[in-house]
Symmetry: C2
């Protein structure tokens, strides 16, 4: 090994949300420490979740998706940032990272290390996946590639493989551009993380907006002939001018897998509420790491931007000696907009609880978003789930059009604070006719359990 | 005393939200008990909070504001309802209520009693208050009277006395009808229940919408000459075609004041979380009663429709023997819409905390409603208050235009569950660019305390 290029007090691998949050917070507390950030891509700190809106044309310039100005960050915060720099191995005993830049390998020392390498799109073992006009959407370069190709090729028809939230957001973007859109999903339905009651609203919304859904279909291959693609499934072959695959992500941890770091079954790095790994002075944050789930206390892999920012911030503060800073964990809160349908989920639904061995009871409820006499009152569809033994609230899903998603956050707070359903049923939530009925939808859903218990 | 007309298992005095909820829940549990409801007004169970929207013309028919169909309720639920029936005294030993209907007094016996007489508009001691075209807004008849008079007189200018939430909602209604609107308020500002930071947004909104504010002005008299009114204040006399007075409410409890019932200093009936008064088998609910405040544990008088419904429901269930049903109390959550400004408050602001002797710290914060790159992102203005000793979250105020009010409910849950500011700062709230930035506004405001503590 060549001599070290430089020794850093803090070395950060990965310059997206988690990594840049860590660097930024460490610098805020400690103006003196040396900090180096290495990222294998072209961009730092881009807003991955904004890409469907960029592709849809609602955000004109990809630069708007870049949260941190690289040059300004380097100059003002005195942080070294190297792009096109991929970590190839870490020697935890020697406290050294080997980074490949172009064809060259360089060694850098560290006192503290934050691993924030994120995740990449899962590539299903599918024949023909390398055909031209087959895309993945994960990093900003992917987003730019899709948008560029849309403008060049002006596709009439796109097949999206995978009916998770990102696939659904993409379908909305494509339909907004007037493109025929087919979602092909191997499982029995799209949005399989949601309960059947809420899923039904999602499916209705997709169909109303002209999205073709092909579900429960084994996906066998992608074929290509003369610029035209075909997605070959158990339910027939679907023609397409472009294909986008969105079938989940895998953590970028291969280069570490032989190390003494602790991983979970999905090869995500296990961290605690201080973003600490099992190795001293080594932290991990964001889409390459697990996070504690407050309902079960288990470490789970649930990569989301909101979690990446929190874990990154805590990692940076811990590195800088702010030991009190803790992100205790998630309850699994997520929002997604699907055309005009707002969807929110937090905690467990009945299926999640069963999978985790938590004794659960669920109700569904349909309520109004505002006082019934308000002309703008809309329906809110809800599921609410409790631990059947303790009566603690453990989950909710909401769908609708008038603040449905935001209302999920009340239940997120209730879950995190271990509130019982009886407390939630009488929780003093705000009331005014333009915002809520006199019994808030969340109160109303919770009352269903209370009434049932009589 | 004449012989009793009838003996009821449950007698309810007052047929609005609280009283009708009690009757309805008692009947649901117990199909056999005899139930009688007596209300002194013309209507039962009307939506008082909807009246500004009825006056504004957004709700065409006053019948839409009636939540419960009287005849249907009588027939299907087998409940006697008598309107124009005012309770004049209660003999708690004899378990008998004397009701005046027209000029006649009738006695009714009860086994259980629910007092839900509500509140009436406070009439300030103001010379000229009985002049024609001077209105109060409290019950549905008041609302109909104002709307009828607006149509007849087509006023050019209205002076509203009182700058509380109802006065502000009325100002919006009048401006929407093209009427010059002046709010006259004795205190230094309108919306005095809010912190100065949020109040500033409210004032800006009112002024932008052409409402004239006269604050810190002693109000001396209303004068009338030839159909024109003048509101005489320390800041001059303000001409008006109509005057509406909205200066708070007083509980309707005079007929009980000499009884052994326990009252608070404002003559509201003191009840616990089961809506029980100090007398056995006697319950009170809604705007004539106190409610426990979860931050201090004290009984407070804070009459709101959401509380009336909860207390009424609990009273009815307790009467029917469902002892487990408890409304533990409020945290003081309120919403108000002022033109396009959404405003929410929960718990205490700094001034509230000082008044209650709670050691407090507050921050203000301005954040975005959505990811910064979303074209529809709006500013959210917030105050957040904690108990300085325990770091428990004790209050929040939010104002803005894109879900600001609904976001207050997250903090309501946090207060009720005794969450610390450190937990709120890292609470796992939903994220998607069309609904929230990656750090939710509530997280962001809470982080200000956390950062300050470093």
């Amino acid at each position: 090994m060549a001599q070290r290029e430089k020794d850093y007090d803090l070395l950060v691998i990965g310059g997206d949300a988690a990594g840049m949050s860590a660097a930024s917070q460490a610098r805020r507390i400690d103006p003196a420490m040396t900090i180096g950030v290495f990222d294998k891509g072209e961009h730092i700190s881009y807003a991955a979740c904004g890409m469907p809106y960029y592709i849809a044309g609602q955000i004109a310039d990809s630069n708007e998706l870049i949260a941190v100005d690289r040059d300004e960050f380097v100059a003002k915060r005195n942080v070294d940032i190297t792009n096109g720099a991929e970590a190839v191995r870490v020697d935890f005993d020697a406290r050294e990272v080997v980074i490949r830049v172009g064809s060259e390998e360089r060694a850098y020392g560290f006192r503290k290390l934050v691993i924030a390498t994120g995740a990449r799109a899962f590539r299903p073992p599918l024949r023909g996946i390398d055909a031209p006009d087959v895309f993945f959407l994960r990093n900003l370069s992917d987003g730019i590639a899709i948008k560029t190709r849309l403008a060049e090729k002006r596709p009439k028809r796109i097949v999206t493989i995978g009916g998770g939230f990102i696939g659904l957001e993409l379908a909305e973007a494509f339909r907004g551009l007037g493109i025929e859109t087919v979602i092909v999903e191997r499982m029995e339905s799209v949005a399989m993380s949601m309960s059947p009651f809420i899923r039904e609203r999602i499916i209705t919304t997709l169909q109303k907006n002209g999205v073709t859904l092909v579900t429960g279909a084994e996906i066998n291959a992608i074929v290509e002939a003369g610029g035209a693609l075909g997605v070959v499934t158990g339910a027939g072959t679907f023609d397409a001018d472009m294909v986008v695959i969105s079938t989940g992500v895998v953590p970028n941890t291969e280069f570490l897998i032989a190390s003494p770091l602790a991983f979970d079954s999905r090869k995500a790095i296990v961290v605690n509420g201080k973003s600490e790994t099992n190795l001293p002075g080594v932290y991990a944050a964001g889409d390459c790491a697990t996070v504690p789930h407050l309902v079960t206390g288990k470490d789970v892999y649930m990569p989301l931007g909101s979690t990446a920012n929190k874990q990154g911030r805590v990692a940076g503060l811990q590195v800088a000696g702010v030991a009190s800073e803790v992100f205790p964990g998630i309850v699994g809160s997520q929002f997604v907009k699907i055309f005009d349908l707002e969807v929110g989920k937090t905690g467990f639904n009945a299926a999640d609880a069963e999978r985790e061995g938590v004794p659960a009871e669920s109700v569904t409820a349909t309520w109004r978003s505002r006082a019934g006499y308000c002309p703008k009152a809309q329906k809110i569809f809800m599921t609410l789930t409790i631990n059947a033994d303790t009566r603690h609230v453990i989950g909710a899903e909401l769908a609708g059009t008038d603040g449905a998603a935001l209302r999920t956050n009340v239940v997120a707070a209730a879950i995190a604070a271990r509130m019982t359903i009886d407390e939630l049923a009488y929780l003093d939530l705000g009331y005014a006719p333009p915002f809520s009925p006199v019994w808030d939808p969340v109160n109303a859903a919770a009352q269903k359990f209370v009434k049932r218990g009589m």
